[in-house]
Amino acid sequence: MSISLYTAEQEERLFIWREARAWARSGLITDEQMGGINARTDPGLNRTNVFFRILFFLFTGSCVQAMIGFCAFVIQIRGEIAIAWSALAFGAAMVGLAEYLVRRKSLYRYGIEEALALSGMALACTGIVIFIFQLHMELRPLITTAAMLAAACFFWLYLRFGFLYAAVISVACACVVPFQLSLPPAGERTIVAMVLAIIFLTSIRAEGSETRDFRKERSALLQACLLAGIYLAVNLRLPELGRAHFGNPAPFDQPHAGFPPLFYWTTYGLTFLVPALGLYLGLKRRKRIVINISLIAALLTLATNKDYLGFEHYAWDPAVLGVVMVVAAIIIMRWLANGSQGVSNGFTAQNLLKSEDHGINPADLGAALLPGAIQANLPPSSPEKPFAGGQSGGGGASSGY
């Protein structure tokens, strides 16, 4: 039995429409063919583009906040019980309104119903937690209860509305629970990693050849998030990554990062194993997001390798890592190019599907910030130099007049 507000048929049609749009953008199908697909895949839902969705989300959220503030101001809500009841009532009303908009107005990822459902659920959870607080519970059991409640509520939101970020919030809340059980740090991380791994494996096992494509796409996103969670739980050296590469280069004083040696070296092995398994799975099942998360995890493993082994960092370490990445990419490109028509084992380096062009992309923005970053890394002008004192940047974005 599905508790989703959208039917599987509607989701499937939307999936086909999205795929077809990418094909049309890349010139793989004609406008007439796209028109035909449009006519046959109309899901009967009201959708909007990503920018309007962002605006709807922001301004609905802003409106909700102002309404709550206004009501609290006018009614003069005082006392914890009154606040709890109000939060619960507002939350329920907002989730109800979101449901109404989906059922009656057929909104689908429109921003309005998302803002209402998310803020409504957060308010309802807050109301319940304030009620529980009245039972004079200690802090840790209170946080545990709140985290479990939030995990359950947001998971329900995911099932009902299909918001993937609600599932991610749910998993993140669930991950808080082990940290409140007064366990040793190794135990906390073990439980988090194991729970996430069990959900991950269950999700993989649940997929069959007859699973619909839109479900596969959705589960791939969830699996990628779970994989990222597992990796974050097992890599003990991740919190000090920035300090190691761009701050103090000396090895960390605390042996084994304060964890038992067996646990420490097990996680060291896992930092290699998790990305490798993710990559294998992603490539085998053609799940792009899982492949990308695994590659990021592999990069982080290389970046934290020296910290794990207790070696000293050098200034040129990022450059060595960069060279490794570029060389690896070149080797893969060569291997793919050697295949028949540039295809090896079904993989190709050719650009088959064009991504949507919004005029500017994150890479362009990153390039725009580069001159400033280069300038920040230049050595200070040395006082013994005859013309010291000048400051600028080649392509630099520094120094005032």
Partner: protein
């Protein structure tokens, strides 16, 4: 059937090379910063110059002939070799200037020369990344930097930002008008819109009705919104609405006193914006 289709790893390879190039440059920068005394000026300047020249030489040898329109790079690596060369050049020239201060008070002319070189390379090899670098280097020549002083947006920066936005807009229009790399127009326009609207918004915050900033802001937002509707580029509508709302809030909240009035403004304005976007959304759908 689904699993047997061709699977492109093009974007992944591009991302790996891009991040790799960023890491190489970061590593080089850190190495120079930490060891410049031991390495010596000649070794640093020599290696950076040689690296930049080698990268540019590769691009001129491997690059496709000039074309007014958009063209594909000869290979995935090509765009990033050019970007790498530009970054080495920027580090090189920055190092020379920081250590020797050859131009003295005219140091900022380096920025103009660098920007000109980046513009040339961006157009010659049809590279959007280098064009972004060129535009930010030009912004540096206009006096902008990534610092708290820029964020505080003094009077001087406001006028400078408006001048910069007009220059970039003119350059983008010329490029578009003469059909030379027309697809670069959006990059120019993004720089123009942000510099202009941030500058005008800071003027509205400071003077409210007592200056030309408010009507200029209204006109600029209207122009951005009209452009968005005509070209169906919704990103610009996002800019127009967010900047417009910030401007309206700055003016209204100045004359609004008391919590209740502020809440009412929040409710009414948010609902009005939602209504506006809804109407626009329907209109775009009808026009599709």
């Amino acid at each position: 059937m689904h699993l047997k289709k061709r699977y492109s790893v093009h974007q992944e390879l591009r991302a790996a090379i891009y991040i790799g190039v960023l890491l190489i440059t970061a590593g080089l920068g850190l190495t120079i910063r930490q060891y410049f005394a031991q390495l010596g000026d000649i070794a640093i300047v020599g290696s950076l110059t040689a690296g930049a020249l080698a990268a540019f030489l590769y691009c001129f040898v491997k690059g496709k002939p000039w074309s007014d329109g958009e063209f594909e790079s000869p290979n995935i690596l090509f765009d990033y070799v050019l970007l790498f060369g530009c970054k080495l050049y920027a580090a090189d020239i920055g190092y020379i200037e920081t250590q020797f201060s050859l131009l003295g008070d005219s140091w900022h002319d380096y920025l103009l020369v660098s920007a000109a070189l980046f513009f040339f390379l961006a157009y010659r090899f049809d590279n959007r990344l280098v064009l972004s670098m060129a535009l930010s280097t030009l912004a540096a020549w206009f006096g902008f930097q990534l610092s708290a002083r820029f964020v505080s947006f003094h009077h001087y920066y406001r006028e400078s930002a408006i001048a910069y936005s007009l220059v970039t807009f003119a350059m983008g229009c010329l490029s578009h008008r003469f059909a030379v790399k027309k697809h670069f127009f959006d990059i120019y326009l993004n720089f123009t819109v942000h510099f202009l609207l941030v500058a005008l918004l800071s003027g509205v915050f400071e003077y409210l009705f007592a200056s030309w900033h408010l009507p200029a802001m209204a006109a600029a937002i209207a122009a951005v919104a009209v452009y968005s509707m005509r070209t169906r580029r919704f990103l610009y509508m996002l800019y127009a609405i967010l900047y417009g709302y910030a401007c309206l809030s700055a003016v209204v909240l100045e004359f609004t006193h008391g919590a209740a009035a502020m809440y009412i403004y929040g409710i009414v304005s948010s609902l009005a914006v939602i209504g506006l976007i809804f109407v626009l959304s329907r209109r775009f759908k009808e026009g599709a």
